[in-house]
Amino acid sequence: MPTEAHIWQLLEEVSDPEVPVLSILDLGIVRGVRLEGEQVHVTITPTYSGCPAMNTIATEIRLRLLAEGLTQVHIHNQLSPAWTTDWMSQAGRQKLEDYGIAPPVDGTATGHVLNLFGADTAVRCPLCKSTHTHLVSQFGSTACKAHYQCDDCLEPFDYFKCHA
């Protein structure tokens, strides 16, 4: 019989389909694992409401557990507490930067405050490491990313935006 710890290990091998360097544990979307006899319950929380990756992730969790002979898998979708980038692991942040995506800036996701006309967060360019960058658009290639450009090396890059 598998243990819950074993299931967590298997989930570490399931990656985010849109940012494949991140495991779903790095991303902080797995909120719980529970075993009830043969039944495996995995609770995940969406990053963004409309994120099309969530369904793929649910399928991949099933497939990974199926490969270990676990056929009775229930995946629950939990909305509250809402996902925040504060749940992203330090290892995940490093992997993101190495992959060319600026990780969410530490600590800025705590507490939701509408920053209407305030300055944008200083984000470090994942390529040349300059913090001399500017926001191009809050909306990028996927729901979780903003679009930035580096003023030093001029490269455009994705920023995994803070989600408070």
Binding site: Y48, S49, M54, A58, Q78, L79, S80, S137, Q138
Partner: protein, 266 residues
Amino acid sequence: MTDDFTPTPALATVTETQRKMLPFVLQLADTSLILAHRLSEWCGHGPILEQDLAMANIALDLLGEARSYYQYAAELEGQGRTEDDLAYLRPAVEYRNPLLVEQPNQDFAHTIVRQFLYDAFHYHLLLQLQQGPDAHLAAIAEKSVKEAAYHIKWSSEWLIRLGDGTDESRRRIEKAIRNLWRFGGELTMPTATEQTLQAAGLVPDYAALQQQINAHVARVFEEATLPVPENVFAQQGGKDGRHSEHLGYLLAELQYMQRTYPGMQW
């Protein structure tokens, strides 16, 4: 849109109080869905690439929010209908979205004003709903308000940029405000159903909400150097199912796949 998820166990039993919320939840669902559809019509036609992406992103957020509401509505109804049945197989007269969100796309300024009016309402409503007595609705609001915060920032910044921009942008944003302002009032004019729910403390009081909206509008319009229109006649009807002809055409496109191939899934 069917997911590979097990239904949330917490919804196995629906209380009588929750069931009363069904028409309100459907109204929220329809509103998000119809505005998401209008925004998605911009895909590939945006004025510049970044803003094309922005509108597609906002559409996706709203579609996700709509799904959460439709799934909840299906649970509340308890008649075996799914989120897809509710979104794709109801006639126009059963839709409960306000008239604002079904207004057809014109130029970018028009879309910005439509979005700004909706975001000012939506963001402040979600802040209230996440404190509300319905725990499941509060959870959806807690999730969605983070996304709505990006939307209100985007539409507010564009309103300022166009209002305080060039002569041409100013002319267009003023025209859009003239055309759309009459649709803003319906958002916070309670229907008979909403009044009943408000009296029971299940839906936030719209008078207080209106004050928060007005404060936001005043602040952004000042930055945009635009005068806030005086109180104008408010066109109503959508929340009671009396829609403009535009909704029928929109639904014809939105629903054709399910109606042509009933029960089809991705």
